[in-house]
Amino acid sequence: MPKAPNTALIQISGKTSGALIELNNVTKQYPNQPVAAVENFSMTVQPGELIMFVGPSGCGKTTTMKMINRIIEPTSGSISIDGRDVLSLNPSELRRHIGYVIQQIGLFPHMTIAENIAVVPKLLGWTKEKTSDRVQELLTTVGLEPGDFAHRYPKQLSGGQQQRVGVARALAADPPVMLMDEPFGATDPITREKLQAEFLRLQASLGKTIIFVTHDFDEAVRLGDRIAVLSNRSQIEQFDTPANILTNPANEYVSSFIGRGTAIKRLVLVPVTAAKLGPASAATRTTSFVQTTDSLRDALDALVLTGASALAVRDEENRIVGSINMEAISAVLGVEVPLLARTTEN
């Protein structure tokens, strides 16, 4: 079957949202190194899942991710995307169908923003019109006005804007799989939160299969469908949903990695509407409020900040639908995680 690699590529490229990724006993052993960088890593990622790899620096999380698009070649084991063996494909062809975003962004400084985004479409031989339509569309998607930004050079953009272009560039050919290596790591906290929120919205509509590497556990909780907590040699200590990891850390390592304040971290995952809202009249201050789309952590934050006993909750049309207080927030944690309630008492 000499044609196999080609058909495989078409199969991958034909998909735009979500592909199944399977890693089987993947090992990376560098020559002249006593221990493997990644050892016997196995994982199945469902189509459309956003998987976070979390672990300390040097644990092999980035190496593991980079083996999927063969920036790093595995020493042994197998990797497949939608059942197609990645290691038998031409690496350049393969990479054109996998979005890739790195922390340093790596925009091409001598190309305009439009040219940067058009790189993969060009490599795939798209027509000029299709490419330029796509560039416009993507710039709009990531919140950069095409008329304003298309002809600028990367140097003329702020860090956050550059990172958006990085994401747009990776999405250019609508790949089913995205690999992201600490994409928001180099941005300031405010920009990062903003980019994370935009990224979540984007993913909700695109449904890509995403491997997202970070060392920031809070980021993992905020973004991930499932989190893989990794230790040395990329060993999986726990692979579960954020809520489950926060509630039931598998071992000492995971607990220490999560750190203290799990209750507060849990609150990030819970929308305000999950709490039992009190009557609107309970909110004494009219100037402070939370939105129904905010998380309980936002609500707690606002309560602490204002010192009010209850806050008004507004829906998307800014109508006040009720109020929230400390008891209601505690109740959510108490109902869902009795264990956590005990921890908070300490």
């Binding site: 790195i102 003329q156 939160e193 939370v290």
Partner: protein
């Protein structure tokens, strides 16, 4: 305290003004007044030289060399030698630099760089005369000697230029599915252009200076005027030759500097 609480993402989205860095007005930057200092100085020097020569009464030996036909012929030889040598250096040293930067073998790199180093470190007079002894005299020998002599700056700058391309830029190029050659041609070489051009500029100026010794092996150039002026003790001839070489070197350097700025990839 009374600040309305909203999603931080949304609130900062509305307040964030895009950072607009000044879009370089390249044309005015490149063609500033500073740009024209060198040609102006050269022009003044040449006018002064002409006025001085015009004030002298030349003897028959002097007037045989100090006339337009003779000078233009020598300048043409000199420029021809320097420019052709530099073109050859560009054609040979840039590909060599590219190949060298792609060989993993340190030994090969060391040998080639070492050889280029020897070429430059050996006194040019030595190279040119040795070559004439073992080969022949004339234009071709002078050309080869110049190429050997000015090979290193372009070779080394090509390697450095490729090396200094940001690792993350290279990685994202590969990560997006460019082949090795595509990365080289579309990313690395364009970004290395300023550094390579700087090497070429050095090598051009070298060539203009060193081409004066071509006269020793009968390859012409302004060296003829300098050597004749010395030998025959005709200082106007000597001075004219020397000043012309200096002016040519300055002008060539100026042209190369301008080219560097014009050809620098936009956005960098």
């Amino acid at each position: 305290m009374t600040k309305p609480l909203t999603d931080p993402a949304r609130s900062s989205a509305t307040s964030a003004t895009p950072t607009v860095l000044p879009v370089a007005t390249r044309r005015s930057e490149i063609w500033s007044i500073k740009r024209f200092v060198t040609p102006a100085v050269v022009l003044v020097v040449l006018v002064v030289l002409y006025l001085w020569l015009a004030s002298l009464s030349l003897d028959s030996i002097e007037s045989r060399t100090l006339n337009a036909d003779y000078i233009i012929a020598r300048v043409r030889e000199h420029l021809g030698l320097s420019v052709v040598a530099s073109a050859l250096v560009a054609a040979l040293a840039i590909p060599t630099g590219v190949l060298l930067s792609r060989t993993p073998s340190r030994a090969i790199k060391a040998v080639v760089l070492g050889a280029a180093n020897v070429g430059q470190a050996t006194p040019a007079v030595g190279v040119i005369i040795l070559l004439a002894i073992i080969w022949q005299t004339g234009y071709l020998t002078a050309l080869v000697a110049l190429v050997i002599y000015s090979f290193l700056p372009v070779l080394r700058n090509t390697m450095i230029g490729l090396q200094q391309v940001d690792e993350s830029v290279r990685e994202s190029a590969f990560g997006m599915g460019m082949t090795r050659n595509q990365v080289l041609l579309r990313i690395e070489l364009p970004l290395a252009v300023p550094v390579i051009l700087a090497g070429l500029r050095t090598s051009l100026v070298f060539c203009v200076g060193v081409a004066t010794i071509a006269t020793f092996i009968n390859a012409g150039g302004l060296g003829d005027m300098i050597v004749n002026g010395l030998k025959l003790q005709r200082y106007p001839v000597l001075v004219t030759g020397a000043v012309l070489v200096a002016c040519i070197a300055l002008l060539i350097d100026w042209i190369a500097a301008t080219a560097e700025d014009v050809l620098r990839p936009r956005g960098t």
